[in-house]
Symmetry: C2
Subunit: 212 residues, 2 copies
């Protein structure tokens, strides 16, 4: 049975060696490469078959783990990348996950957890520490459209939609088979309901408050 190949990118020598030891002692896993910097790993990735999994630190000298992550994914999209870091701030977590991380572990994770995480990504999962998972769900609640209700009618929403798409009033009139004057009237009502008095204000409000 072919063992799972794993690369490490971690600048702390001792932690890197410890990790490599943990992985190599696990069944069917081999830590075939370990680097202190993303640049080295990226170089090698150009001429070598990619590993199954990369364990990646974020706080690295040179290009950061998150920037590196994007580049890794460009070269080897199928390789799973698990972030292993001390950083748990929303920004780092968010950016790492957007960049395509398959998992996010904190460095206080036990060796067993780390091995389990590798198994989990290979099984199609997304290993995360408890607190990271919690942050992730919190981020979702912030995405929730607040949907302020300005009492726009259906037709007004339709006109607003067309304005947002970049058409002029005349073009909207033509598209909806109504007169310019009607579109103009609708716009007046929309502006009044949204408390704006420019097109740009209306469009911005539409985007920001998910009116469209």
């Amino acid at each position: 049975m072919v063992p799972t190949t794993i690369w490490l990118v971690e600048d702390n020598v001792r932690y890197r060696n410890t990790l490599a030891g943990v992985i190599n002692r696990a069944q069917r896993m081999i830590c075939s490469q370990a680097f202190a910097r993303c640049e080295e790993a990226l170089d090698l990735l150009q001429h070598t078959p990619p590993p199954d999994v990369i364990l990646l630190d974020i706080g690295l000298p040179g290009i950061s783990g998150i920037q590196g992550l994007e580049k890794f994914k460009q070269i080897a999209p199928a390789t799973h990348i698990i972030i292993l870091t001390v950083y748990d701030d929303n920004d780092k977590v968010f950016n790492a996950l957007c960049a395509g991380a398959s998992g996010y572990l904190l460095k206080d994770s036990t060796p067993e957890k780390i091995i389990a995480a590798i198994d989990e990504v290979l099984a199609g999962g997304a290993p995360m520490n408890m607190q990271i998972a919690h942050k992730v769900l919190e981020m979702f609640t912030r995405l929730k459209p607040v949907q302020a209700d300005y009492g726009l009618t259906e037709r007004e929403r339709e006109i607003l939609q067309q304005l947002v798409s970049g058409l002029t009033k005349q073009q909207i009139a033509d598209k909806l088979f109504i007169s310019f004057h009607t579109v103009n009237t609708h716009c007046k009502n929309i502006y009044s309901k949204l408390h704006v008095n420019t097109l740009s204000g209306a469009i911005s409000k539409a985007y920001r408050e998910h009116l469209i």
Copy 2:
């Protein structure tokens, strides 16, 4: 020691009873209420201290679990709600998490997993099945800004930013201490670079492609 109080909302009688049994056999947990419909639970929540955790199905008669989730959260924001359902489509997962679910389990979860999930939310975690966690991370990669580069200069981005915020050219000129003509020229260049010829087109492009 006060036991953790748990409510169930699950329309299948047999599964509901099984779940209640599992919970009541666990240490320091009590299933104090079990409902077939959200409406009943919402009624009782008006006159009763809220439970610590609600296990909530999604496919319910009457108002759906996701709509119910929003109402539960309005009445009892501190209560943790764990979705327990057969549905694993992106839309349901996304909406449930946006509505404030603390966890998302599929019904093929073992009794041990369910009990562990309750413990996990109480400890500040966010229990999810492996496949759900994977979906969640996938959703993040879709959020990733594509950041098309239209070669806007720093000043042009600044002007665009002001346009998006709803100011007129004259207002921008005053704000940045430059002449109207300069703003006008920048606008011309912005429009040319973005391949648009109206303000609305520029603003929409800015929002849609995360230029700002």
